[in-house]
Symmetry: C2
Subunit: 346 residues, 2 copies
């Protein structure tokens, strides 16, 4: 792959990304000023096609980058693109208001991501793994109902209504809360389950029913807070791209969007890697989305990866820009979440 071939490939990728039309030799010669005639470029293109970097939709059309071509572009040709001031400004402003809870942050992140990339944004909600128990509170509500509230070290709060036997008074509940707090504070769920429970049950055996329910909630706080939702945004945004002129494509795309489970696996697996990952076409495991590309990256709080954000779009996407944006957004999101989860913000 000599230098001129690289230049031709770069030109093809750039032009195709910009116009969504197959690129002909004349166009390259004129627009990209390689200093050679269309005929020469045609020769180069024939070679590139033989090597699998570009393809022809039909005989009398220009060339289009193949998946391999995009891959080569992303790995070797692409120049990193800085975010424009304007873009950075949009992001900063986006987080200025409305950052009162994690859900809102996730939502906003998705919005910004799709707005800036013109693709569909996917944001995995933070999944906070091991954490310590901090506080439990039983609050009497109605006659025979109470609310259990469990606070974890990482700021996660869970609550649930439970039925209480009539025999229990509100002072009982207060005592119960106190004992549980004293015994359990600072422990992880695992250790609570394994060791201490027997002791507690022995001591507070007569409240067994409530204890059971409270424990269940505590467990859920840990396990279920893998309440792994995905925020999806800007599907419409993407549909204005020319690849979706065809109704069938729109429909497959939308049906993909409704398969949350798949999207989830898609994003979750990305979060294994560090930094921004780019998957192009067939590199995505799922057959349904083989025609699209995905750019994703994990975000983290206090050094621990707790989720990821990603962008799904046509293989013909502005990789350079999208990658920078995803990169910038993860950093930003990490910061915002850090402030929010670990406190410090208003």
């Amino acid at each position: 792959m000599d230098d001129r071939k690289r230049k031709v490939l770069l030109a093809i990728v750039h032009d195709y990304i910009a116009t969504a039309e197959p690129v002909g030799s004349r166009t390259i010669a004129k627009k990209y000023r390689l200093g050679v005639s269309p005929a020469t470029i045609r020769n180069e293109m024939a070679d590139l096609e033989e090597q699998g970097y570009i393809e022809q939709p039909h005989t009398s059309a220009g060339r289009v980058p193949s998946e391999r071509g995009y891959r080569y572009y992303v790995d070797y040709l692409m120049e990193k693109e800085q975010l424009s001031r304007e873009e950075e400004e949009i992001i900063r402003r986006g987080y200025e208001t409305k950052v009162k809870d994690v859900g809102q942050v996730i939502h906003k992140t998705g919005q910004l991501l799709s707005q800036l990339t013109h693709c569909t944004a996917m944001v995995l909600t933070p999944q906070i793994g091991t954490s310590c128990f901090r506080h439990i509170q039983l609050v009497p509500m109605h006659s025979s109902q109470a609310m259990v509230i469990v606070v974890m070290d990482n700021g996660i709060v869970h609550h649930r209504m439970i039925e209480t036997p009539d025999s229990i008074s509100s002072t009982d509940m207060e005592t119960l809360s106190k004992v549980l707090n004293a015994k359990l504070q600072g422990l992880t769920m695992e250790s609570i389950k394994l060791t201490l429970m027997k002791e507690i049950y022995l001591e507070l055996g007569r409240y067994k029913h409530i204890l059971d329910l409270a424990m269940e909630l505590m467990q859920d706080s840990l396990v279920l807070k893998t309440e792994d939702k995905i925020y999806l945004g800007g599907v419409f945004n993407m549909l204005s791209q020319p690849e979706f002129h065809n109704v069938e494509k729109v429909k497959t795309m939308l049906s993909i969007m409704e398969q949350e489970k798949m999207l989830h696996e898609l994003l979750a697996c990305e979060s294994q890697d560090d930094g921004v990952t780019v998957r192009i076409g067939g590199e995505i495991k799922y057959n349904v989305i083989r025609d699209y590309s995905m750019v994703a990256a994990p975000y983290s709080v206090s050094g621990q990866k707790i989720g990821s954000i990603g962008v799904l779009g046509p293989t013909r996407m502005e990789y350079a820009k999208v990658i920078s944006i995803v990169d910038f957004m993860t950093a930003n999101l990490s910061q915002v979440l850090e402030r929010l989860i670990l406190g410090g913000g208003k």
Copy 2:
């Protein structure tokens, strides 16, 4: 409008709903056996057209119901349709699992609604208005941070991280919680704000900073829990309907879906009325969605309307069925929520 005209109109509406094709006189004569010849039906159709109940897409096409026609159908001709056993079964099963928190219920409701109606489902999250303060808890977290948790009478729980001055100890927080609980329990937010705050500030003046933050959260618990989100489901579902063969329509529909604000107003205004409301085409205030119809109804908990669910679809929708489904679903949702919010369920 004589009896035969009504029958013809009914036939046209039914057939058009079923096939999405303009209905001709021959079709009606053959399929709907009115006992008269196509020519007679043609005469009736000419009258119906003159009266504005049906329209002709072009000269050599059959007739299509106009908005007025649909309206007449919904008001006078339509027969209520019972849900099939199968459908009831689907709904019941849908709620069997996964009913642990309000969000999930809303989500599931949207899913079911769209699945059964083949339209886009919209579910407004419960907006619980006046409620009493039940419990406040300050939980120390890290060195200079604490979590405020506010529990309302109706089972709503809010929490937020706040900064605490270093001078405050965890026992201080305990005391603070206790005093606040004692003073405020059972009051509505309004009365708290108006009368009691001065007294409390006097007593606990040195914690002013924390009190401010706590009060802010309490206020939000009331006001902000108009966290009026809309759950949207089954957009894809609807796009498989023939009206969306045209890409432009798909796009407008999707752009509508992304205008949360509008959808929200749309649903919110419905919840004024009792029972199921049907808006057809231009009866919807917003110009963008003039080509669609909407069936909506409020749901309630302990007699109070706290939200609504709705269905948005092409004017050519199965009104009879959709109306029954929306009706059934609101009743069901009310029940499920009642159990969840007021406690009782596991």
